[in-house]
């Protein structure tokens, strides 16, 4: 905390329909502070017109997702020393594949609308929480009356990183498909229709960036593959009179 680095924040700016540009802010920061702290400093001490989203500052709300030096990050848990060096530059841009509202703020409306459509539950019993770690087998947990907030914090990093989402706005996106996998296909028949489509589970082309950038242990990639199995399972059942 006592070391100080000289870092230049290069921040994407766009207001209304004007041409976007980058503004530079040279600041003295501690390398153990987070990128979000730096962005906040820019607003607090340099430019009060900067708009950005943030709320919890501890990776549970999903508000502060941005691209830092080209990579999707949750800026509240991204230390400055992870993305630059003393005398270096931190480029901060809004997430991709969402309409930009102003500066670093994007409109996540499509994501929320689709999460509602697939019935992703924000809180669920621990034995249904299906806590991901695809490297270990999913542990079956006893029914113990306890609840768990779902891992997905709807931050949009996965959709920003997905090359398919970059070319097709209609693609449901990793978070949504992972959300559908969490809910399963039995709770609502509309979900099957939604995901079993050319903009649903079949559109994924295995780039795996979603899992790479997810800050919340959701691991959307294997969930999409798992969902494919579930969809095929459903179709077989239907074929044979299910």
């Amino acid at each position: 905390m006592n070391t100080k680095w000289n870092v230049t924040f290069r921040v994407y700016r766009q207001k209304d329909q004007q041409t976007p540009h980058y503004d530079e802010f040279k600041m003295e920061v501690s390398p153990d502070e987070y990128v979000l702290d730096g962005v906040e400093r820019v607003w607090a001490f340099h430019d009060r017109s900067l708009t950005f989203r943030h709320a919890c500052h501890h990776s549970t709300c999903g508000a502060c997702g941005m691209r830092v030096n080209g990579v999707e990050k949750l800026t509240c848990i991204t230390p400055i020393r992870e993305v630059t060096t003393d005398g270096g530059v931190i480029k901060v841009e809004p997430l991709r594949n969402f309409p930009i509202v102003s500066d670093l703020v994007v409109d996540l409306g499509p994501l929320y609308q689709r999460m509602e459509a697939v019935g992703h539950r924000t809180v669920l019993p621990t034995n249904e929480a299906g806590i991901a770690n695809s490297l270990k087998a999913k542990k079956a947990q006893e029914e113990n009356g306890m609840y768990r907030l779902a891992d997905c914090i709807e931050c949009g990093l996965c959709i920003s990183a997905c090359p398919i989402a970059a070319t097709t706005a209609e693609y449901l996106g990793p978070a949504v498909l992972a959300g559908a996998q969490q809910g399963g296909l039995d709770r609502d028949p509309h979900v099957l229709e939604l995901v079993d489509s050319e903009v649903g589970v079949w559109r994924c082309h295995s780039a795996y960036e979603c899992t790479e950038v997810c800050p919340s242990h959701v691991e959307p990639a294997w969930r999409i593959m798992d969902l494919r199995k579930k969809v095929i399972g459903k179709k077989f059942k239907r074929l044979f009179g299910g």
Binding site: P20, Y22, D23, G70, P163, T167, S206, A207, Y208, M225
Partner: protein, 128 residues
């Protein structure tokens, strides 16, 4: 000081491996080899239709295919086929939920095989 950011068109947005991980590289490589192989397919059909026009055309064609540029082109096709095919196996496996957590290792291993295969073909093709 400010500078203006540029945006690529939707058609080529997927082609940006900068700051991305191995999975993205695999995806981009697969697309490029696919485009290359498709292009080759059209060329191949085009040339075949030319060849259907008689023995003189065939002889003329044989003359060109021995040039190093042509052989190199064919080597690219073979290499693209190996890469695309092996990566395709990885993608097929993953699509069935097999080995998803190991997709990076699988890619690395299969590409090592692809390099090996390409080298073998290179030796055979350039020393024939």
């Amino acid at each position: 000081m400010s500078s203006t950011p540029q945006k690529p068109s939707n058609a080529i947005k997927w082609f940006d491996p900068r700051w991305r991980q191995m999975g993205s590289w695999a995806f981009i490589l697969n697309r490029i080899t696919a485009l290359g192989l498709t292009l080759y397919l059209f060329l191949h059909l085009g040339i075949l239709s030319q060849l259907a026009q008689g023995p003189d055309a065939y002889d003329g064609f044989l003359a060109t295919i021995h040039s190093p540029v042509f052989i190199f082109g064919e080597f690219l096709v073979v290499s693209a086929g190996i890469i695309h095919g092996l990566n395709g196996i990885r993608i097929a496996l993953n699509s069935f939920g097999i080995a998803v957590p190991y997709q990076k290792q699988l890619f690395a291993g299969l590409m090592a095989l692809a390099i090996l295969g390409s080298l073998i073909f290179a030796v055979r093709m350039f020393t024939a």
